[in-house]
């Protein structure tokens, strides 16, 4: 059996390939006759000076133009609805993290079953490079679904987990959510994709996926806030 790399990315890639196939087929169905007509039906003085001026349309053909595309798009929308349900419904065994965005970084809290915070990791703003200190990475176990509850301290941000191909905005005053599962240990990008000002393009972090045993050990370690070097910039922007 093929190893699934990440969820819900697996379904996302399937949906993209379905769309791409349909799009390429439609592109050729439309453009090949179009280019052929342009080549064939040229104006030639003395020979071909007027087009088919009797033909104003063809009701049968036009009914076809309506019915076939309608069926295609409804099938595509329904197919996407089915996947959407899976993308939005976290598996019941998912662990929960709460991520709060701010200008321009993230605070990640690891919650236990009762919703109490076990550990907090803060990613601070790095305006000059895309390097990130080891203790600021968001660590999650491999092969376990993670549900992320999202909110924001100041303006709207978004949380894009690139390997999982899933985004959700972080809106102040609201808690939104998404879930993902990465099966292969490694380091992956997380970006903010909702415009949030000067530091927008440097609002990023790394998702560090580790084997579950290593994660359990890491969770018991202390928060990077303890060093006292980091604090969230809570200056009121208003």
């Amino acid at each position: 059996m093929e190893q699934v790399f990440a969820l819900p990315a697996k379904w996302w890639f399937e949906a993209v390939s379905v769309w791409l196939t349909v799009a390429v087929v439609i592109y050729f169905i439309v453009s090949i006759p179009g280019i052929y007509f342009i080549m064939k039906y040229r104006f030639k003085p003395g020979e071909r000076e007027i087009g088919d001026h009797e033909k104003h349309g063809h009701w049968g053909l036009e009914a076809l133009f309506v019915i076939v595309p309608t069926i295609i798009v409804l099938v595509l929308a329904t197919y996407s609805f089915v996947i959407f349900k899976k993308q939005r419904t976290a598996p019941p065994d998912a662990m929960t993290i709460k991520v709060t965005g701010f200008m321009w970084g993230w605070q990640t809290e690891y919650l236990d079953e009762k919703g109490n915070t076990i550990k907090t990791v803060v990613t601070s703003f790095n305006p000059t490079s895309y390097e990130i200190p080891e203790d600021q990475k968001i660590v999650v176990p491999a092969g376990k679904p993670v549900k992320a509850l999202l909110t924001s301290l100041d303006v709207i941000h978004s949380f894009y987990v690139m390997p999982a191909r899933i985004t959700e905005d972080m809106v102040p005053g609201r808690i939104t959510h998404l879930w993902f599962q990465i099966n292969k240990p490694g380091e992956y990008w997380i970006f903010c994709r909702e415009f949030c000002g000067t530091g927008h393009s440097h609002m990023f972090t790394k998702l560090k996926v580790v084997p579950p045993e290593q994660f359990t050990a890491w969770l018991k370690g202390e928060t990077n806030l303890a060093k006292g070097e980091l604090k969230i910039n809570e200056e009121v922007v208003r």
Partner: protein, 537 residues
């Protein structure tokens, strides 16, 4: 009685231009203004493109980059993609195509233009350092209410002035079409451009107040301490997005429908045959208008709105593919059995249709909510709307400028410049926006002046820059062609393209009193696309 002014229009005095209520002059002023703004905002776009060529900050700092992006978006959407064809061609062509002397309310029309002019001045004020607006053309709160966002008030007043102008124009055009058609012009023999223009103005009339409301609340929030969008005091930032997109989604049809009109005028003329499926085209236009107000949540698929509304609007959004598809099929159908003359307006129109085909097909994944969760706010969407809005609109308007150039100026646009600029723009744009979509699919977020040094991303950005340079040279050549045509163009015959439509029956350039009498004589079997006789060149 208005006095006859000397033609061509270049010779009219400044006073005549300032106090004019003539729809043709107002149209030309709109078109000139929007073309100049198009060049400036296009230059902004090039700077944005160059900044992204390599990771790191090369030419501009993020704050200035954000200003460039805001200006590029707002100006190209409001000045180029709306004012060029509604204010410009709409004013110039609507009375000519329906056989009227002027629009219904000429002085209101002048007011529209001067409100628009005021907005243009405000836009120029944002060029002054310290007046920069940096919150993107969408202006989402709470960001827009922060100090980092720039001068929100200027943005709000620009929207208000453009909005006043749009509403006045919409009232004017709709009244003109209903009340002032020449006897013999009716719903089923009106030009497609007029149909699309009226449909677009119906959207304006219904939608603009919604946008005006959204930005007014923004103004009150930022400067007078109200809390419409402040979650800390019981407001909701998503309220803005809902009210904003209720208009700002339908506005894309305001921007594209008249361009569909251009395609439908140009293609039959150079194919020498009637527009295929004229009646279904009209149904498709009104189908688009109806659906356009039921889809706005697709801009908010990841904004945290409830899941059920995302699914409903995913269905309504994807259904828009049906009427737009009909239009593409009908243009292709028009080419069947035709006698095609590949002059430059036809090249621009066909190129625009092909760009729109790709743009339409790449719109489908944005409508499929499952895919959108992975590509929302990536460069994919930017590439997509540069196909549909950016290039389909630009190619359509440039084609229309060449096509109606004789009627506006009495001169012909130099054909060589038209063909050369078309190929450069077409190739450059495809190179640029196709690879923009690819890098977006790989995950590159939008509105990023800097990005991580991922090798594939870097390569794809370099290809885009090459495309953008070719595109820019194409636009430059087109602009030189306009100046050359104005100064030393060949004198235009009255009907250089042998069109059947009403506006070509009068002299070139169009005389001040249009048809002389109140209305031209329209024969009972008149139809703008009745191409039954060989053209006489």
């Amino acid at each position: 009685m208005r006095e006859a002014i000397p033609v061509p229009y270049l010779k009219a005095g400044l006073k005549e231009w300032i106090f004019t209520t003539d729809h043709k002059k107002i149209g030309i002023m709109y078109l000139t203004t929007s073309y100049i703004f198009f060049l400036v905002a296009g230059f902004f776009g090039l700077l944005i493109r160059f900044e992204q060529t390599s990771p790191g900050y090369q030419i501009v700092q993020p704050d200035f980059y954000n200003y460039l992006l805001t200006g590029h978006g707002a100006v190209l959407l409001l000045w180029w993609a709306i004012a060029s064809h509604i204010g410009g061609f709409g004013n110039f062509l609507l009375p000519l195509m329906i056989g009227a002397k002027d629009v219904a309310f000429p002085r209101l029309n002048a007011l529209s233009w001067w409100a628009f002019f005021g907005a243009s001045v405000l836009v120029l004020l944002t060029l002054i350092p310290g007046n920069h607006i940096k919150m993107m053309w969408t202006g989402y709160p709470p960001y827009a209410t922060t100090g980092d966002a720039g001068v929100t008030a200027l943005y709000v007043f620009i929207i208000h002035l453009v909005g006043i102008s749009s509403i006045a124009t919409a009232v004017n055009f709709i009244t003109t079409y209903i009340k002032m058609r020449a006897p013999g012009i009716h719903f089923w023999n009106t030009n497609m451009f007029v149909h699309t223009l009226i449909a677009a103005n119906v959207i304006q009339l219904v939608g603009v107040p919604s946008l005006a409301g959204a930005v007014t609340m923004l103004l009150l929030d930022k400067y007078l301490g109200t809390n419409f969008y402040n979650p800390a005091k019981g407001g909701d930032p998503l309220l803005y997005q809902n009210v904003f997109w209720f208009y700002s989604h339908p506005v894309v049809y305001v921007q594209i429908l008249p361009v569909f009109g251009f395609f439908s005028e140009i293609v039959p003329t150079f194919a020498r045959r009637p527009l295929f499926g004229y009646k279904t085209m009209i149904f498709a236009v009104w189908g688009i208008v109806l659906l356009s107000f039921m889809v706005w949540i697709h801009h908010m698929f990841v904004s945290g709105v409830p899941d059920w509304i995302r699914v409903i609007m995913s269905y309504t959004t994807i259904l828009i593919a049906v009427p737009t598809g009909i239009k593409i099929f009908n243009w292709i159908g028009t080419l069947h059995g035709a006698a095609i003359i590949l002059r430059s307006p036809m090249l621009y129109a066909l190129g625009g249709i092909f760009m729109f085909l790709i743009g339409g097909l790449t719109g489908i994944p944005n409508a499929m909510v499952a895919i959108d969760l992975g590509i929302s706010d990536s460069l994919f969407i930017v590439g997509h709307f540069h196909y549909v809005l950016g290039m389909a609109v630009t190619l359509g308007v440039l084609g229309a400028i060449i096509y109606w150039f004789p009627k506006m100026t009495g001169k012909m646009y130099p054909e060589g410049y038209g063909k050369l600029s078309f190929w450069l723009v077409f190739i450059g744009a495809n190179l640029f926006y196709f690879f923009q979509m690819v890098v977006g699919m790989l995950g590159n977020p939008r509105r990023y002046p800097d990005y991580p040094p991922i090798p594939e991303w870097h390569t794809l950005h370099q290809i885009q820059t090459v495309g953008a340079v070719i595109l820019g040279i194409g636009i430059l050549i087109f602009t030189i062609g306009v100046i050359k045509g104005l100064l030393s163009g060949e004198k235009a015959p009255d009907n250089p393209w042998q069109s059947q439509s009403l506006e070509w029956r009068i002299a070139s350039p169009a005389p001040v009193d249009n048809f002389g009498d109140e209305h031209p004589k329209v024969e009972p079997d008149y139809h703008p696309y009745k191409y039954g006789a060989p053209p006489v060149f």
